[in-house]
Amino acid sequence: MIPQAGKPINSDPLPAGCYRLGGSAASIAYGMNRFCHALLVAANRDAFKADPAAAMQAAGLSPAETAMVNARDWLGLVRHGVSPFLLFRLSGALGMGLAATGAQMRGQTLEEFMQTRKITGAR
């Protein structure tokens, strides 16, 4: 079926626990996503680790965004509009691996999450 003219094909509500980057939330979270993106560069990671508050202020993060980073509130950041691929750059810079970051979003410890997996030696 071809979508009707003008009907947004991407606007259906998603299942519970699913988020998408886009729309006005992406505009609001652009600075936060850009901050995470910059952590691809080692010098930016080092500056962030050395003085998180200064780095976040220099990047122009909002007080709410700064608070979520300080609280390691990964789920809050995803709901805010941060792409998971960029979130992992942030959590990684703070020493938290991908699976541990994801487990926290599920409300689990890394150990609890890994117990739900059949294969654990190959991501």
Partner: protein, 288 residues
């Protein structure tokens, strides 16, 4: 004239590239996946395509939200190995095919796919993982690569049908390329996985197997699906399956399956596929 020797499907998770670099391909939990690459490598060694058209997505490595194209085509003569934050992988730079890429650019835009043209697109795991698993690159890459990048990260994404039709347009363009050249199309990513939100870690092997069935025999039915349906059944990042649909669009309506494997690891359902056209019908393929 150029020919299409077939289409391949491969996951593109960075962990697979890391397993190659660390020599873990025979580790017990990795072996079922890398065993699944052997028939694909053998098929490539027999068919010897000159060019792989890689349908992939960048992961905010070389492209970012400041200017994010829906479709991007690389005309670069050579592609750098991107640094994804841990230093570039130890792979040789990947040769492009500027002549074919410019032909594709002209043909696809004439066919109403107004894609971005890139002269310098360092490749990230979206392209390099399948490439480094499929081709033996230790003595240099055995062929050239034309990367086509699809936005699957920021909505609005192109529809599944749009990706399928892009594949059909790629087929028309390749078959009209007046140069002796063997081309294979590689769809990358997926299958089911989810990396954000409370549903992190979602894998759906039942859906993945159904997707592989339908991709082979009734791809139009997948092209009709909404993004929501893909996400519900395959997870938010499972939406990468629309890139496999692009590959499938570049093949004939009826295909022959040469190889299929499925394995799911900790976070992702991994599908591996080789398809060939059932009957080579260039005259029919050239019609819209």
């Amino acid at each position: 004239m150029a020919t299409i020797v077939g289409g391949l499907g491969s996951p593109h998770a960075p962990s697979i590239g890391a397993a190659i670099d660390r020599g873990l391909t025979q580790a017990p939990d990795w072996k079922p996946l890398f065993d699944g690459y052997q028939p694909m490598r053998q098929w490539l060694a027999e068919k010897r395509p000159d060019v792989l058209i890689m349908i992939y997505n960048d992961h905010f490595t070389s492209l970012f939200l400041d200017n994010l194209p829906t479709f991007a085509l690389s005309v670069a003569p050579v592609h750098r190995i991107a640094d994804e934050g841990f230093g570039p992988r130890p792979l040789p730079p990947v040769p492009g095919d500027a002549q074919l890429a410019w032909h594709l650019a002209n043909a696809l835009v004439a066919d109403e796919f107004d894609l971005s043209i890139s002269h310098d697109l360092p490749l990230d795991h979206g392209c390099l993982t399948p490439l480094s698993a499929l081709w033996d690159w230790t003595a240099g890459w055995p062929g050239r690569v034309v990367p086509i990048q699809i936005n699957v990260l920021q909505f609005p994404l192109p529809s599944a049908r749009r990706c399928f039709r892009l594949g059909q347009a790629i087929r028309r363009a390749v078959l009209a390329y007046p140069v002796d050249c063997k081309v294979a199309i590689v769809g990358t990513g997926g299958l089911s996985h989810q990396l954000g939100g409370e549903r992190f870690g979602f894998i759906n092997p039942v859906w993945d197997e159904e997707f592989l069935d339908r991709l082979e025999t009734e791809p139009e039915s997948l092209a009709a699906m909404s993004h929501r349906e893909f996400i519900e059944r395959g997870g938010t990042e499972g939406i990468e399956e629309i890139m496999w649909l692009c590959m499938r669009g570049a093949l004939a309506p009826k295909v022959r399956r040469v190889h299929r494997n499925y394995y799911h690891a900790t976070l992702t359902g991994y599908g591996q596929l080789v398809l060939e056209d059932m009957a080579y019908e260039p005259a029919q393929a050239l019609t819209t």
